[in-house]
Each structure stands twice: as structure tokens, then as C-alpha cells.
């Protein structure tokens, strides 16, 4: 096992050096082709850039906002419209609305990424096991997946959020609970396709145990569907968080969540439209760019998955 680990980087090197031989067909790392396909997809590149800007803004939020998200510094300018000092205006409790929107990106993105990570942690092993062993293991996992496909996810999520009284961690858990199914199905499909290929049969013939085959061969070869499943789980988790917060069972104030701000914005929209418009736009742009980025990544990494 250690032997195969040390030789792998070398084979990669020889692969990439083939390029220089000129007359021979150029053999490059598959990631190179994936990158070329991704770059060619203009929509995905734009979406990816917008997403990186949003992520960057969320990271450096304290440096680009005048106040923190909960400081009621501008009570005298309560409900003020957008101006030079307050780009997105002031909210009903005297807080700079731009600061709240930027900090809202932190909540939204962190829930999206953490929930997607947990979705992979649940979906990857279940998908690999059910694809590899088939039979009763597969039957059992598929019955769980079936239950998740017929239970209305939003209603069940609302119920769970009420049960746990909302909050960051329970929203992450709920989003992961409903996000793993897609990852599981993607990995299962990939593993089932690989299960009977020659290199897997060779690995088994050489005495590789189930564990060895799954961890050393099947899972590393399922990396594209895992990445695709991960990126596609992010916007779903963000939408779930926004939806639950919108209905009042998600992230509780004073923590800023776009869904929660939209809910408050409804009460003010006829006179103070900015309180409804900016969180709506922020959510729409973030979800849209994440989804388009994920779709571009899917098409680039595995053109056969294109839907």
C-alpha cells in the first residue's frame, strides 16, 4: 500500500512530460481538461467570480463595514433610505443595513458550506457501500433514500426546526439531513459503474480486501461526483436556511440572516422598500451564482452527468 502511494506522483510526472514529445498525442492530467471545459463556460466563470467576491466580502466583513451587524448606532436615522453614508439605508432598529447584508453573507455561506460538508460525510460512505455491495445493503440504503424522496422536505425541515428551536447548528444539521441524498446517489452511480471495470477486478484478484478496494480505488475515483454533489448541496442548504429564517424558525435575531430580513422587510415594504429589496437581491444573487458555478463544475468534471 505504501508502495503504491510513493509511485503515484512519479507516474503523474511522466504523464505530464509526454507533452513535450511533440508528435505523440498529448496526454495530460484529466483535471487540465476539466479546467479547459470550465473556462470555456462563460456563465460559470462569471458566476464563480461573483461567488468568490461574495465569499471574500464575507471573510473581510469587519473591514468593509462601518459598524458591526448589531450596533444600533443610527437610531436617529431610523429607517433611513439609502444614502452616501448608509449604502443600503438604515433598518427599523437603527442598524446600518449594508453591514447587516454583508454579515448575512457570512451566515448564509457558512451554513451552505458546513451543511454541504456534512452531506458529503453522510452521503459518500452510504453511496459507496450501497454501490459496492449491492444486494441487501443497496436495498436498505435505497429504502431510506425513497423515504426522503416522498416526505416533503420543507415541511419536515420546518417541523425539525421548530422541534430544535432553530439556531445555527440545528439548521446545519437539518440541511445536511436533506442534502446527503443527492451526494449518495451520485457516488452510488459512479461506484456501480466502476465496480465491474478491469482495474477493480485486478485489484480484487491481487488480493485487495473490500476495504482496500473501496478506500484506495473506488472513493478516489468518485471524486468528481463528490465535488459536484458538494457544490450542489451548498445552494440547497442556503435556500433552506433562508426559507426557515423567513418563516421565523431559523436563525434568530440579532444574527443577520437574509431570509429573516426579507420577512421583516414585508412589514415595511410599502414605505421603506430598501428593507425588502436588498436582502432579496443578496439572496437571489448568491444562490444563483452558487448554482451556476456548481452546474459549470459538474459539466466540466463529468460531462456525462450533464442534465
Amino acid at each position: 500500500m505504501t508502495n503504491s502511494n510513493t509511485t503515484q506522483p512519479e507516474t503523474k510526472k511522466t504523464n505530464s512530460s509526454v507533452e513535450t514529445t511533440g508528435t505523440l498525442p498529448v496526454a495530460r492530467n484529466p483535471l487540465y481538461y476539466a479546467w479547459r471545459r470550465f473556462i470555456a463556460n462563460r456563465g460559470a466563470v462569471v458566476a464563480g467570480s461573483i461567488l468568490s467576491i461574495i465569499i471574500l466580502m464575507a471573510i473581510v466583513a469587519p473591514y468593509i463595514t462601518p459598524t458591526s451587524y448589531e450596533e444600533q448606532k443610527f437610531l436617529s436615522e431610523n429607517l433611513g433610505f439609502p444614502s452616501w453614508e448608509h449604502w443600503f439605508g438604515v433598518d427599523d432598529l437603527g442598524r446600518d443595513f449594508y453591514a447587516r447584508i454583508v454579515y448575512g453573507a457570512r451566515i448564509s455561506l457558512s451554513i451552505g458550506f458546513i451543511a454541504a460538508t456534512f452531506s458529503v460525510f453522510i452521503g459518500l460512505p452510504l453511496g459507496a457501500l450501497s454501490g459496492y455491495y449491492g444486494g441487501s445493503v443497496d436495498w436498505f440504503v435505497m429504502r431510506i433514500v425513497e423515504i426522503f424522496s416522498v416526505v416533503p422536505p420543507l415541511m419536515a425541515a420546518l417541523l425539525l426546526a421548530a422541534l430544535t428551536d432553530g439556531g445555527f447548528l440545528s439548521i446545519v444539521a437539518i440541511a445536511a439531513l436533506f442534502g446527503w441524498v443527492q451526494v449518495c446517489l451520485l457516488v452510488r452511480g459512479q461506484v456501480m459503474a466502476l465496480r465491474n471495470t478491469e482495474f477493480i477486478r485486478a485489484a480484487k484478484a491481487l488480493g485487495g480486501s473490500h476495504q482496500y478496494v473501496i478506500f484506495k480505488h473506488l472513493i478516489p475515483n468518485s471524486i468528481s461526483p463528490v465535488i459536484v454533489g458538494f457544490v450542489q448541496a451548498i445552494p440547497l442548504a442556503m435556500m433552506l436556511e433562508a426559507g426557515l429564517s423567513f418563516l421565523g424558525v431559523g436563525i434568530a435575531p440579532p444574527l443577520p440572516s437574509w431570509g429573516q430580513m426579507i420577512n421583516i422587510g414585508i412589514n415595511f415594504m410599502f414605505f421603506y422598500w430598501h428593507l425588502a429589496l436588498f436582502p432579496t437581491l443578496a439572496l437571489a444573487i448568491t444562490v444563483l451564482s452558487t448554482t451556476l458555478f456548481g452546474d459549470g463544475l459538474r459539466d466540466a468534471l463529468d460531462p456525462t452527468l450533464k442534465g
Partner: protein, 311 residues
């Protein structure tokens, strides 16, 4: 075929039992009960009487069996938030707005989406295709309440053409119906486009064109019919899905429908109503998938249910 139907029905029963047990346990582990008011607390004795009246003092499995026995007789109990009627009576009232608005959205969105998809497929890689794909991407990615909010802001707040919320006169129906129509339009635009492109690339289309059949006949008599099969499969699940969408649309437009009652049942810990709604929609989804599979097999002779599936 009969064996397949029986197996599917058994599996639906199993799913229903598992889901109902899980829900029942979850519902009863929610902290706080329906009679734990803080502003006007009941005396211990009064609370015990009410708990006994609704059977909430018995062990959980007995409560569950009693409940399921009722459910099998279409008795979902009495909603705590409106004790003067049964859950079924309340739902009988509540589904009307949801069906009018949701059904209206699906009835408008489906043909619109199919048209967009066909246009996009026939004008592949032109601006028509890009606009149609843009619409379907927007509709599929942006949450319903964001679409609703933007609709309200534009048409009710800024242009002041339509009322922002409420239920009653048909004028108030327009915005919610558009909001509901977003998902069917987007889904069908995407499905119709890919199904059309799939069929257009089949060899038989080339043969039809080669033998000189007018393009109009190729499209309407052959390509459309052959692309219809995959589109049938999305319809029922999507239609049931509007019930879930109603949660947001009705919260946004203040419509007293199923979704609105579901949200208020969550807030007031109204177990009977929550259980009834989730169970009903679960069963509807089960049957939607079941019926879809059967219809699909009838329309497409290549599929054999139960036994070997030819792909």
C-alpha cells in the same frame, strides 16, 4: 404487472408506516405542549383534565396506535387551534385557495414552459434559446419567496397595479399565480428542451427529413409526440410539489391556504394538523410516483415494470 402493483402498494404502506412513526415521535418530542400558555396558565387539575380529554396522558405507543386507527378511518382528530371542527373540515376549507392558486400556476406554467422549451430546442444556440434557458435557470434556482417578494415590490409597491396580499377577489390571485407558475415554467422549459433535442438527434428524424417530409410534420407529428414521454413523468410530482411551495407563497401573499395553516400549526404546536398535512402529502407523493411509473410504462413499450428494465 399485477405483481408489480402489489409490491409497490406494499412498499407504499411500509413507507407510510415508517414516516408516520418517525413523525409521531418527533411531534411528541417538541418541547412544550399545546396547553402550556404562559400568559394565562391553566391550573394543574384543569390541564390534567384537558390532557386526559385529548388522550395526551397515555403512553406514546398507545397514542400512536389510537391515532393510526383513526387515520385509517379518515379521522385525523381535532385541530388544537380551531377545536370547533375536525382536521378534515379545516383542511376542506384550506385547500380551496391553495388549489385555485397552485393549480392556476401549474395550468399556466406547464404549457408556457413546454412552449419555451420547444422554441429553445428549435432555435438552438440563438438568442431565443438563451432567453428561455435564462428563464428556466432563474425559475429553478431562485427560491419562491424571493420571486414573490420581487413581484410584490414591482407590481404592488412601485407600479401599484395589483394588490400585494389577501384572498378573495380574482385581482388578488394574479401575483400568487405568477409566483406559483415560476417552477412549472422553469421545469418544463428545461425538460421540453432536452427531450426535444434528444429526439431531434435520433436517426429516425433524419430518415423522415431525408424522405422529404415537411419540417412542420416532422416536428408536430413525430418529434413532439416522441418527446412527450419524459415530460409526462414530471407532471404529477411537480403538481403535488406546489403544496410545499404553498408554504412560502401563502406566507408572502397572506393567503389562508394549506401552507399558511401548516405554518401556524408549527407555531401553535398543533400536532393533529401537522401530522395530517405531512402524512397526506407524503401519501400523495408516493402515489404520484407510483402512477407516474405506471403511466410511463404504458406510454413507453420499451419499459417493462417489475421484471427486466430495458434501458
Amino acid at each position: 404487472m399485477l405483481g408489480y402493483v402489489i409490491r409497490r402498494l406494499l412498499s407504499i404502506c411500509a413507507t407510510f408506516t415508517i414516516v408516520s412513526i418517525l413523525l409521531f415521535i418527533m411531534m411528541h418530542s417538541i418541547p412544550g405542549g399545546p396547553f402550556d400558555a404562559t400568559d394565562m396558565p391553566l391550573s394543574e387539575a384543569a390541564k390534567a383534565t384537558i390532557m386526559a380529554k385529548y388522550g395526551l396522558d397515555q403512553p406514546l405507543y398507545i397514542q400512536y396506535l389510537k391515532y393510526m386507527w383513526g387515520v385509517l378511518h379518515f379521522d385525523f382528530g381535532v385541530p388544537f387551534q380551531s377545536p370547533g371542527e375536525t382536521v378534515l373540515e379545516l383542511l376542506g376549507r384550506a385547500w380551496v385557495p391553495s388549489l385555485v392558486l397552485g393549480g392556476g400556476g401549474v395550468l399556466i406554467g406547464t404549457p408556457l414552459g413546454i412552449m419555451l422549451g420547444i422554441l429553445a430546442a428549435l432555435n438552438r444556440n440563438t438568442w431565443i434559446d438563451y432567453v428561455a434557458s435564462g428563464i428556466s435557470t432563474l425559475g429553478l434556482t431562485i427560491p419562491v419567496f424571493v420571486t414573490s417578494m420581487l413581484l410584490i415590490l414591482v407590481f404592488a409597491v412601485w407600479l401599484d397595479w395589483l394588490p400585494a396580499s389577501g384572498w378573495g377577489e380574482p385581482k388578488k390571485w394574479i401575483l400568487p399565480i405568477i409566483a406559483y407558475a415560476a417552477i412549472p415554467t422553469a421545469t418544463y422549459a428545461r425538460y421540453a428542451r432536452s427531450a426535444m433535442l434528444d429526439t431531434l438527434n435520433k436517426p429516425f428524424v433524419m430518415v423522415l427529413r431525408a424522405k422529404g417530409l415537411p419540417e412542420r410534420k416532422v416536428i408536430f407529428q413525430h418529434v413532439l409526440r416522441n418527446s412527450a414521454i419524459p415530460m409526462v413523468t414530471v407532471f404529477l410530482p411537480m403538481f403535488i410539489g406546489t403544496a410545499t411551495g404553498s408554504i412560502f407563497v401563502e406566507a408572502m401573499f397572506r393567503v389562508p391556504g394549506l401552507g399558511a395553516y401548516f405554518v401556524s400549526s408549527i407555531r401553535t404546536r398543533d400536532y393533529p394538523l401537522e401530522m395530517a398535512l405531512i402524512l397526506m402529502i407524503t401519501v400523495m407523493f408516493c402515489f404520484a410516483f407510483f402512477i407516474t411509473d405506471i403511466v410511463y410504462a404504458m406510454l413507453n413499450p420499451k419499459i417493462r415494470l417489475g421484471g427486466k428494465v430495458i434501458k
